[in-house]
């Protein structure tokens, strides 16, 4: 009896500790419960597998970019060997993040090849007309009865395609325009030769509004060696008709001449500006990308989930209803069939709920919808063990054994089959956790934790509570344990 009393105090201690944990370390809610966006980024590698180092490198670049973007409370983690998951809680638009993160942002400085002046001129002209078409398109899109307008843009585009000897493959007009612009930017980049100056030589990036018009420019600050390289390169082409191009991801974003006055020393001072007609937004995005450095491998955004905040709180409420009504109906069922024993199992279930939640805040487990369903499902499974034990106790009672003896041997004999029976469920959870997606992991984690805790609550806690009850003479009548009408047989 002394030992059982020890258990009772231990259980009360655990319960108090759980409540303390839950008050001081509230549960972490997943995005489907609090609202927000989740982006899955896939690292693209043509040959071979993504190594751990590469994953780390990509992770750190993305991390820097996310931080520089200034999104609050974002969370970035790796998933498997070649994926990253970025969570943006609240009403933050994933669009900007996706634009900034998706680009490799490999910055290069190139000098013009000899004898390409006329080619460059005609490409630059075509780029100008495409830009104009894009502007016209965004204007046309907003106006009504724009069919003729769009038709005209389409015809112009066809002419440019003919001149370029390139036909676009996109489905819609806007896609085509963007595709052609990219093609021209790439063609321009091809007219230039690589130098050894690149985005790696930057130590900082910034942006400011140009003084003459409303366009923005991006400021680059080179490291010492980068500054020297830049001076060297500008010196070599100063005063010639060769231009210097700034290339981002293989597309030229700006071409500039270097004046004769730099012929002796090159452009010194370790900084440069890119003025390529940036809008405020574009300038900021480029700044963030350059600050974070270029990605060692390209990435692609393969999944985006967005849940509104209101829907999130609705989901919490619905889950709460489901959990509580499940608990109540299971409780009614147990008390109806097992009387005092049923009441004991309800008490252990309540303990079970508290312990589970406490473990979630301790580990911590982020609670998601599938996670909650795992928890609710495990309520049913937690009672399983109790039913096994109670059935044994009933059999012992029917056989005419005393109450204490029946309880003892009931717990003893059911022990092995309970542990045994939970193994297959734990096996499934384990596999799910290892192989599942983020979504599935939540379910596997809560169900697995639930099954483990239920072993403690349904074996130990219910035994202790039952022992405590049976110390009272008034609670030791057999008919409190067996439905009366069956007692006669």
């Amino acid at each position: 009896m002394k030992r059982r009393q020890g258990w009772l105090f231990f259980i009360i201690f655990l319960l108090t500790f759980s409540v303390y944990l839950l008050i001081n370390y509230p549960l972490q809610l997943g995005l489907d419960l609090q609202g927000g966006s989740q982006l899955t980024l896939q690292i693209i590698k043509e040959e071979g597998k993504v190594t751990r180092d590469e994953l780390e490198a990509v992770n750190s670049v993305i991390d820097k970019r996310v931080n520089n973007l200034g999104v609050s409370e974002s969370n970035l983690q790796t998933l498997g060997a070649d994926q990253l998951i970025l969570e943006l809680p609240g009403e933050q638009n994933p669009l900007v993040a996706s634009r900034v993160l998706g680009k490799t942002a490999l910055l290069e400085f190139r000098t013009q090849k000899e004898g390409t002046s006329s080619d460059l001129k005609s490409l630059q002209l075509q780029r100008l007309s495409i830009k104009e078409l894009i502007e016209q398109y965004s204007f046309a899109e907003k106006s009504q009865n724009n069919d003729n307008f769009l038709k005209a843009i389409q015809d112009d585009l066809k002419n440019i395609e003919q001149e370029l000897n390139y036909s676009s493959t996109s489905n819609d007009l806007y896609g085509k325009l963007i595709e052609i612009k990219k093609y021209v930017d790439k063609e321009i980049a091809n007219l230039f030769t690589k130098t050894d100056l690149s985005g790696r030589d930057l130590i900082n990036a910034g942006r400011r509004q140009e003084q003459t018009n409303s366009n923005w420019e991006v400021l680059l600050t080179f490291s010492n060696s980068g500054g020297e390289k830049f001076a060297e390169i500008t010196k070599s082409i100063a005063g010639t008709n060769q231009l210097l191009a700034i290339i981002l991801d293989g597309e030229s974003i700006s071409e500039a001449s270097v004046g004769n006055q730099f012929a002796s020393t090159g452009i010194t001072g370790g900084s440069a500006t890119i003025s390529g007609n940036f809008s405020a937004e574009n300038a900021r995005e480029l700044e963030v990308q350059l600050k974070g450095g270029s990605l060692p491998l390209p990435i692609e955004i393969v999944e985006t989930n967005t849940i509104g905040a209101m829907l999130g709180s609705k989901n919490i409420l619905k889950s709460l209803y489901a959990a509580i009504s499940g608990l109540i109906f299971v409780g009614i069922f147990m008390i109806f069939n097992y009387r005092i024993l049923g009441f004991v199992s309800v008490l252990s279930l309540v303990l079970y709920g508290f312990f589970n939640l406490a473990i979630y805040s301790l580990i911590p487990v982020t609670l998601t919808l599938p996670g909650i369903s795992g928890l609710i499902l495990s309520i049913g499974m937690a009672v399983d063990a109790n039913i096994l034990i109670f059935e044994r106790i009933r059999e012992e009672l029917y056989d005419g054994n005393t109450l204490t003896r029946s309880i003892d041997s009931g717990f003893q004999r059911a022990n092995s089959s309970i542990v045994d029976g939970h193994i297959t469920t734990l096996l499934s959870c384990f596999v799910l956790f290892l192989l599942g997606t983020n979504f599935v992991k939540g379910f596997a984690a809560t169900l697995g934790i639930g099954v483990l805790i239920s072993l403690f609550t349904s074996l130990n806690c219910s035994k202790t509570i039952l022992r405590f009850f049976t110390t009272y003479q008034s609670l030791r009548q057999k008919n409190l344990y067996l439905p009366r009408n069956n007692f006669s047989n």
Binding site: L377, I387, L432
Partner: protein
């Protein structure tokens, strides 16, 4: 309260019933593979094929004005001029026209935002706080599918291994037979649901199959344990002892199934819509699972 299931008398009926269920499932799977637009054994959802799914509520006073989905679609095509979804877009109004749900092929975030703002112009204002949007690239979908199938196979293998270590051959084989019987029937029912109601299965369906596998085996293990125990100690005939064991564990098995079904029913009734089909699949699995462990597996143990 003694139970008296006449297992021996009804052996043929039980096996016949299961055969019909299995044939019914196979029929659904074959029909679905050859005679539907998707040509797959089961209607694979967004998670596995990629795409864009959007649910959003409208802001309305009192009652929402009615729109016909076709006219809204017509309007959307007109304004969006995006060929990606011009032919392949589904739109539904639910909840008295309050809730709009849309399915299209995979869109980028930008395209999806455009779609929403176009939608806002046509049937707006929309309540952005109620938005539920999922964009899944086709590449990821394929990967998820392989992932799910691998997890299923690995865990079935692990369970089989566990059972064959724990029981001798005959018991192990029958427990596995019961397990595949349960999984096949749940799979078949969802094939039919896909054919008739265009219900789609997502990664949570794979999760439910895995959970059913663990649960179904658990039930069978308990009954087989009882049979083994009784065969050692009781002096009655072989068939009678099996029938007795089943009756002895009948209460326990049905009760545990009921206590597991109750929380699932509460999720179906009160829980979030995204858990509806998941809980339904689990409930079906638990019902079929208890049937196969109480009636089918022991019947197969009986000698003629």
């Amino acid at each position: 309260m003694k139970y008296n299931l006449e297992l021996i008398k009804n052996k043929k009926k039980i096996i016949g019933f299961s055969t019909i269920l299995i044939l019914f499932s196979l029929l659904g799977i074959f029909y679905s593979t050859f005679n539907t637009s998707y040509k797959k054994p089961i209607n694979l959802g967004m998670d596995f094929v990629g795409g864009n799914e959007l649910r959003i509520e409208r802001v309305c006073e009192d009652e929402c004005s009615k729109f016909s989905p076709d006219s809204v679609l017509e309007n959307l095509r007109e304004t969006s001029k995006n060929n990606k979804f011009s032919n392949n877009i589904k739109l539904q109004f639910q909840n008295n026209s309050k809730l709009i749900s849309i399915r299209t092929p995979y869109l980028t975030i930008e395209e999806s935002n455009n779609l929403i703002s176009n939608l806002d112009n046509i049937v707006g204002p929309l309540n952005y706080e109620s938005k539920d949007s999922r964009l899944i690239g086709p590449k990821l979908g394929k990967r998820l599918l392989t992932n799910c199938v691998t997890s299923l196979l690995v865990s079935l293998f692990a369970i089989s291994l566990y059972i064959s270590i724990r029981f001798d051959k005959k018991y192990a084989l029958l427990a596995l037979l019961a397990l595949f019987h349960d999984l096949l029937i749940v799979f078949g029912i969802f094939s039919w649901l896909g054919i008739i109601l265009s219900v789609e299965v997502n990664s949570l369906f794979a999760v439910s199959l895995l959970t059913i596998a663990g649960y179904s085996v658990n039930d069978t293990v308990v009954i087989f344990d009882r049979i083994r125990e009784n065969l050692k100690s009781k002096k009655e005939g072989y068939n009678e002892t099996i029938q007795l064991s089943v009756n002895e564990s009948f209460r326990r098995t049905t009760f545990t199934s009921i206590t597991t079904l109750i929380p699932l029913l509460s999720i179906i009734l009160f829980g979030s819509y995204s858990l509806f089909w998941f809980s339904l699949a689990l409930s079906l699995g638990i019902i079929v699972g208890s049937y196969s462990s109480i009636l089918l597996a022991p019947s197969l143990l009986l000698k003629d």
